[in-house]
Amino acid sequence: MLPQVLFQNRKPRRIATMEEYCGSGGYRVLEDIARGKYSPADICRIVGEAGLRGRGGAGFPAATKWMSVPVDGAYPRYLAANADEMEPGTFKDRMLIHVDPHTLIEGMIIAGYAISASKAFFFIRPSYDSSAMILERELERARQAGYLGDNILGSDYSFDIILHRSGGRYICGEATALLNALMGKRPNPMKPPPYPTVKGLWNRPTVVNNVETLANLPHILRNGPEWYKGLARTKTGAGTKLFCISGKVNRPGCVELPIGTPLREIIEEHAGGMRAGSEFKACLPGGASTRYLTKDLLDVEMDFDSLSAVGHRLGTAAITVFDQKTCLVGVTLNLLQFFARESCGWCTPCREGLPYIRDLLWRIENGEGREEYIPMLRQMSRDVWNAYCALAPGAASPVESLLTFFEDEVREHIRLKKCPFSRPR
């Protein structure tokens, strides 16, 4: 039986209650904190030892981010929980909220304590309104139980969580853009310096963490860093990971597995294998802004380091599987339509370059492709790396990998003056 940490209280067709969460050890860490067992520095140290890396796509070590809040930094400080999750293929944060919201709530309080924050914003995307309502209800329950608010469980620590519903844009998932959105400004990203941990919301130190990252915290503190590291299948990895699988598999869904579980195992054992008549052609291993991963790498261990060693990214660990009947030019075009539409419009490569790339892909897909578009696409997918934030480089990844691994398919479109695959219906 695979260790379930975040999903340990998973109930069929309903949400785990706060009582059930407490019954499995929930809020005990918070009680320990209230009793004075841990200082903020202790929390940072323990989480650092546990090797927890951000689960939002960047994989930045969580404790390192917390510790970059200057010791003499200004007050008040803020925590922002990033539930914007708009990376196509990704739905793990939604699952988390619907399975066990309190592991997330306790995680936020712990993180807030670690950085001496007094307030947190839970930033949630508009299509997750049902999740938002669940959270509002459970937050109120947590308040009633004394886990949130002034003087938590009789301690000196006061902390509360405000739910903020986003207006809905992919770029809001970018940490600095999220902060701008919270402040009621246009959600363009803001390139550091200063870093948000030094000057974030209203010029105060602010930490932005993905909700999956936060949900891990109670468990790390309950069971210790060694336990957490031991959960991984790789030597450098730590903990479990929520993997989303979608596409041409029998059982798309979200499963919690040890980080470093091989891709093949995830697809064949946990997602029910490829559908009848479908053979694995490629997948996006970590969401739409990663490179197509080809058949030869099916045994790769799904962890940050092991994927980057082979030139790929874990990202959000959202695996979208394509079969031999899927036109990857069409998929890439669809992805670029998404990215071009979601560009915030600040910098030239993303605002103008992505529509240019999209246009060329559209022509290739629709029988108007030309040979010269291939070097143009290659060049532009390199050039957009010089954009202001990571959206454009992410958008470039499917394009570049399409040309690297599936150039023949592209040439076929051009030669035939049409898409050789049948359109998805």
Binding site: R186, G345, T348, P349, E352, P355, D359, L360, N386
Partner: protein, 838 residues
């Protein structure tokens, strides 16, 4: 190798750009360092005044050595020691070319019809960037345009989304009705609705936009950049003296742009200075000399004037001839008038319209010295500013922009003024009547110096100083707060206006500034003067204390029989129109020299047309004592398109320029004084130097450089005189009248522009809500004010953010405020009522 002066420990990173080495102050961006080497890295969104944005990606260069490697944006990275950068690296060049291609994807082929063509940053960088053939096969996105007012045209298809406009408009200037809307490649810069832009600095959008999205409507389609005669110039619409660029074509001033001045206005100018030039091109300008209603040649008219003036001199004595000038006269003109009045024995020139204006300006000028004077740019670094008797946006607009820059760096600002002041920065408004301002200043000075004495006396309790006069109790805490903030500040500045304050206020401001100089050791005094050359007028005053009121009195008493009015319109400022008309009717001779079609010119017996500053150049001294000189832009004469009503000029060949028979005022003045023989040998610089030693430098310093004519130490503070400044309002049921200037509508020169006449809003007379309520007056109601000279019907503005007990009346050209008669200090409530009309 780190470069640090061992003794000074100042870090000056040394880096190499394109094999050239340079040392720059810490914090300099690489793009700036390159510019100092003469290497202009291409850029769109970066602007010295607006800072770095990192949006356009055009300034990409290759970082070869140092903490950064590869292609990076040179505007976003501080120069660091040991960096090696290449702007010519192949990859950087190719990337920049790609950026241009991306920007040009949606750019319309408007160059032939776009005013920006020939002065367009996008054009320049497209060509130099090497992008030429279009290969993007897609369609261009297009936009609808908005009406943004009469000054600026909006053509959004040309936008390359550099965000300069919103960064200037919102961040730099602090206005909130223009900004970026939409998302992705349909981002749109505009207003919520069509309508005139609210910012009085919106015209700068025309300068900073790197394409033709925002263009100057006043000069639309008139010329290409290379057709224009362009000259570094000066704005003379207020006492700040901002630097501009004036352009002319076919004997017409076509356009004004901002010019960088590191001491005065930085990179920008206000809309009054930018769009106020049409007075120079008016079809109705006096161009032909007139004698007794008949056209005459200039020579004939000069002879007539000269002859008659001599006649009157002989019959009634030379002092029966009086001179009137104004503070829009150049130093050249004022110097000559001073000289000829002295030599001919004529009554010396009256420059200021009112005695109080003359007094206050003279006191301000005499107190300002090198140790105290703060330039407007230096004001941006102040950390606390106390501004008294000034409404920045209306009286000296660029001052408001400078104050905003200080505010952006967390400076505290207090404005002590009766008007409903609004400004694009947060400030504490102490809304008190003009009479109370001086008393507050004295109170602050005393408290500060008491604190100073106390801290020297080590720990004694702070004693409360004597009040300088009876003041309202609720002011105490405000004053105490200001004293505290001044005490705690590092670099405070006192800003003092000279229009609405009492006579002794400039001295009190200077007293406080002197104390602050002792305490903080930094310059801290900034006066705003009434006009563009008020400072010069004081320096060249032959009779200090004389104003136009004295002239009117002299005429009424029969002492003055002839008046020579030089570039002045007493009708504009004299508060009793009927009395003025009666006085002028008494004169044996009224001679007027001007370039404006004023009422005086209309009634004068002899009219001698003069050149505008565009046609003859001139020197002016700004509020800070800075002498600024400009050369002419064009040679003067009727604009070509006016000569023939728009058609081809008449095919009559002549050496004469139509309407070219005009002279600089100072030259004509010399001739009228009878010095015709000396005219051609005249050295105006010599005369200026002789009339005031400070102008000797004009000979040595080129026109391109300015210099301050300030003494090392100003006048000593005057002995405390009984001025009754702190006097409480006399009668509870009256309102004190405060006459004020507005951004548009009161300034003389810009008031002749038809576009500005349409743009200026309906004049409002302001009163406090607590004064308005008993009268049943609400904001925007029409009211009647019954006066000796007739009634005044005007719209009321009602505000809670102003002083009680005052009635703020703009000297608006549409408002017959001159009916007020001898400016009453107060108007009884009973004279004000809600008018019938809606």
């Amino acid at each position: 190798m780190p470069v640090q002066s061992a003794s000074l420990r100042i870090a000056m990173p040394r880096l190499v750009i394109d094999d050239l080495e340079i040392e720059v102050p810490e914090g300099t961006k690489v793009i700036e360092a390159a510019e100092r080497l003469g290497i202009m890295i291409p850029r769109f969104c970066y602007h010295k005044a607006l800072g770095s944005a990192g949006a356009c990606r055009m300034c990409a260069v290759k970082f070869i050595h140092g903490p950064f490697k590869g292609l990076q944006m040179s505007c976003m990275i501080d120069a660091q020691d040991g960096m090696v950068v290449s702007t010519t690296d192949e990859e950087a060049v190719a990337f920049r070319r790609q950026v241009i291609e991306w920007l040009m994807m949606n750019h319309p082929h408007d160059c032939p019809v776009c005013d920006e063509g020939g002065q367009c940053l996008l054009q320049d960088e497209t060509v130099s960037g090497g992008h030429g053939l279009r290969r993007y096969p897609g369609r261009k996105r297009t936009y609808h345009d908005q009406y943004l007012g009469e000054f600026i045209a909006h053509e959004m298809n040309r936008c390359i989304h550099c965000y300069r406009c919103s960064r200037f408009y919102q961040d730099f200037a602090g206005y909130r009705d223009l900004g970026p809307m939409q998302i992705a490649n349909r981002v749109y810069f505009g207003r919520f609705r069509d309508g005139p832009l609210e910012s009085p600095f919106a015209g700068n959008l025309v300068d900073i936009c790197p394409t033709g999205v925002y263009t100057d409507r006043s000069s639309r389609y008139k010329a290409r950049r290379w057709d224009l005669q362009r000259v570094p110039f000066l704005c003379i619409h207020c006492s700040l003296g901002c630097s501009t660029v004036a352009s002319a074509r076919y004997r017409e001033v076509v356009r004004i742009e901002a010019r960088f001045n590191k001491s005065v206005n930085g990179h920008f100018i206000c809309d009054r200075g930018r769009f106020g030039y049409p007075y120079a091109n008016l079809a109705g300008r006096p161009r032909r000399a007139r004698v007794d209603g008949e056209d005459a040649s200039l020579a004939e008219a000069v002879r007539a004037a000269s002859g008659r003036l001599d006649q009157i001199s002989m019959n009634a004595g030379p002092d029966a001839v009086a001179l009137v000038a104004s503070d829009r006269c150049s130093l050249e003109t004022l110097a000559v008038l001073k000289r000829i009045s002295r030599e001919k024995g004529w009554t010396h020139p009256a420059v200021f319209p009112r005695p109080d204006l003359e007094h206050k300006t003279r006191r301000a000028v005499s107190r300002l010295d090198r140790r105290l004077a703060v330039s407007m740019r230096e004001l941006e670094s102040a950390d606390f500013i106390l501004a008294v008797g000034i409404d920045p946006v209306h009286e000296a607009p660029m001052l408001a922009l400078a104050l905003r820059q200080a505010f952006r760096e967390d400076a505290g600002i207090v404005v002590m003024d009766p008007r409903p002041v609004s400004a694009p920065f947060d400030f504490e408004h102490v809304a008190i009547a003009p009479a109370e301002i001086g008393g507050c200043l004295s109170r602050i000075t005393e408290a500060l110096s008491a604190l100073q004495a106390d801290s020297a006396a080590q720990g004694k309790e702070t004693r409360r100083p004597e009040a300088a006069g009876p003041l309202r109790a609720d002011l105490d805490s405000r004053i105490a707060g200001i004293v505290e903030r001044l005490k705690g500040s590092r670099n405070p500045v006192i800003v003092c206006g000279t229009d609405i304050v009492r006579d002794s206020t400039p001295d009190r401001a200077a007293d406080l500034a002197l104390l602050l100089l002792q305490l903080k050791g930094r310059p801290c005094l900034f006066f705003v003067l009434p006009g563009p050359n008020s400072f010069g007028a004081v320096l060249l005053a032959e009779s200090p204390g004389r104003s136009f009121s004295d002239v009117v009195q002299d005429i009424e008493q029969g002492k003055v029989k002839a008046l020579l009015v030089v570039e002045s319109d007493p009708f504009k400022n004299f508060p009793d129109r009927e009395r003025l008309e009666r006085a002028l009717d008494r004169l044996d001779l009224l001679a007027a020299m001007d370039y404006l079609p004023t009422s005086v010119v209309g009634r004068a017996h002899i009219v001698l047309p003069t050149c505008t500053v565009f046609e003859r150049g001139g020197s002016f001294i700004n509020q800070e004592g800075r002498v600024q000189r400009v050369e002419p832009v064009h040679e003067g004469g009727v604009p070509v398109h006016q000569v023939s009503g728009g058609g081809h000029p008449p095919r009559v060949f002549s050496h004469e320029v139509p309407g070219g028979e005009i002279e600089a005022a100072w030259r004509t003045a010399v001739e009228v004084a009878g010095y015709t023989n000396a005219r051609d040998n005249l050295s105006i610089l010599k005369i200026m130097a002789e009339e005031h030693p400070g102008f000797a430098r004009c000979r040595d310093i080129p026109t391109s450089r300015s210099f301050r004519v300030l003494p090392d130490a100003g006048d000593r503070p005057p002995v405390c005189e009984e001025t009754g400044d702190g006097a409480a309002p006399e009668a509870a049921d009256t309102l004190e009248v405060v006459l004020v200037d507005r951004f548009f509508g009161t300034e003389e020169l810009s008031g002749y522009s038809p576009v500005i006449q349409n743009a200026d809003s309906e004049p409002l007379v302001f009163l406090h809500v607590r004064d308005a309520e008993p009268l049943g007056i609400a904001h925007s109601d029409w009211i009647s004010i019954a006066l000796e000279g007739g009634g005044l019907e005007v719209r009321a503005g009602v505000s809670a953010q102003m002083a009680e007990g005052v009635l703020v009346i703009p000297r608006h050209r549409l408002l017959e405020w001159q009916k007020l008669g001898p400016v009453p200090a107060r108007i009884p409530f009973g004279r004000i009522s809600k008018a019938g009309k809606e």
